[in-house]
Amino acid sequence: MFSFKGRKDRLIIAAVISISVAGILYFGYQAISENSNRNQENPFEYNLENFKKIDASLMHYSEVGRIRIELQNVYGIAIGPDDRIYVSGDDSVLVFDRNGILQSEISSVGTARCLTVDGNQDVYLGMEDHVEVYDRDGEKKANWESLGEEAIITSIAVSKNSVFVADAGNLIVWKFDKSGNRLIRIGEKNDAKDIPGFIIPSPFFDVAIDPDGFLWAANTGRHSLENYTHDGNFRTSWGEFGMDMEKFCGCCNPSHFTILEEGSFVTSEKGIARVKVSNRLGELVSVVAGPDQFIEGTVGLDLAVDSSQKIFVLDPFQKLVRIFEKKRL
């Protein structure tokens, strides 16, 4: 039989009880604080955060300027040969000088969803189903024929003698001469000519001319940029689907693109709003702007490049033209 009558025994008991109480308090506190800090996983959450991370070493551009656009809705941007900036929106086109000062306004009947400017400073506006041409003073020169009820014109590109019109409704690129005569259809599925055919799930379908004069078109449903001759022959393509930075995300991207003077591509995406530069081979070179620089849900980041290779991003959610310049190393 044990008996705790001595002073020593009582001390031992008190020590054991004290240690036990301290242990309970310590480990209990640890357990409570650990649970309170733990983020419970939400099985219903649609989480894209991991895909928004950017390697800082790719951030070669910084934002150097902004032009506020005083329109309710803005759709397209183009830069003329004298670096004047053209922005289309509510029934008009605003023309800014290279410093962002408003110079003039071209009024149109209806809204141009896209536009481009040729070497003569003629402005080509893509209305829903037809093209309108205005001279540098804003006087209407021509009203081209309708491309049909299904037509949704989303982009225009001009070369020296031809005008290429992307039609997201009919899933083709129309080639016109500069007088507005319709010549050929480019990009229709043709297995014999290895033409895959355009898949355009949403009304974003961009075209541009590269420094060699070839036509490029964004086949957004295939996540690729495709290269065609002016006769409509398929030359090559690049791009693949993926959420990673070097690929094109979502169902249909890139939503817009433009081409730098040395042949590199500037692309913008929707879903995860980001603007990137890829070289002629389609390899990622730089990130111009990442998702953190846009309001969540931003779509329709139209692009243009001026003669000094500054990249102009039209941000329709903030109604801004945002100007990005390559950082000096």
């Binding site: 939400n42 099985p43 219903f44 959450e45 649609y46 989480n47 894209l48 991991n50 895909f51 898949i199 799930p201 949403s202 449903g221 295939r222 996540h223 689907f241 959420m243 995300c249 979502g250 169902c251 249909c252 991207n253 929707k270 879903g271 995860i272 849900g297």
Partner: protein, 195 residues
């Protein structure tokens, strides 16, 4: 004949009888009036405006029903029939197939059917749909928003104080006429859809 009219005093019993008749008459008339006014004004029901909805997943857990009355709806006229459907596939899915690990829907309620290369049709199995809106979030993020949520009136109890509406962070819930109980997108918005 003296020509004088006699003023007969009203009896207490008659006074009470007439008073009771008046009160009963007014009560019946009032109730009838209320019923008439209720029947002539249109009945209102709860609905979720898909143009305001932020797909926060709270509709799936805040309904008083054991299985939420909110279900995913698909606008076929808007859908791109994409092989790479961001409403069907996980954002980082390695392959575009029907494997459970590739699917975004936590209950596997979306069926993917091949149409022709490279198009696929997506249909909602409402018995499996829990109304979490994860697919709608994916479709809205990358696609054109053809997948969206609606309160299904074949299930909804139309509570006076809808418990989902009370907790909706974007205040997307509103009362709509029972004759037009859905707020639809695309071409379907022009058609009358009644459960």
């Amino acid at each position: 004949m003296s020509g004088k009219t006699l003023k007969i005093p009203i009896k207490r019993r008659d006074f009470i009888r007439r008073s009771v008749h008046t009160v009963v008459g007014l009560t019946i008339g009032g109730i009838g009036g209320i019923l008439f006014s209720k029947s002539s004004s249109e009945e209102m029901v709860w609905q979720l405006d898909p143009n305001i909805c932020i797909q926060c997943e709270k509709c799936s857990v805040n309904c008083v029903l054991p299985h939420s009355a909110v279900k995913c709806v698909h606008s076929y006229s808007m859908c791109g029939y994409c092989d790479l459907c961001s409403g069907y596939l996980q954002p980082g899915a390695r392959v575009r197939d029907t494997g459970a690990e590739s699917q975004l829907c936590p209950s596997g309620a979306i069926k993917r059917t091949f149409v022709e290369d490279p198009y696929f049709e997506y249909t909602i199995d409402e018995k499996l749909c829990i109304g979490c809106g994860k697919c709608a979030k994916g479709c809205n993020s990358f696609g054109n928003g053809s997948l969206y949520l609606q309160n299904r009136h074949d299930r909804c109890l139309n509570c006076n104080q809808c418990s989902i509406a009370r907790r909706c962070p974007s205040q997307a819930w509103k009362r709509v006429p029972a004759s037009q109980p859905y707020i639809l997108k695309g071409d379907e918005s022009n058609k009358f859809l009644k459960s």
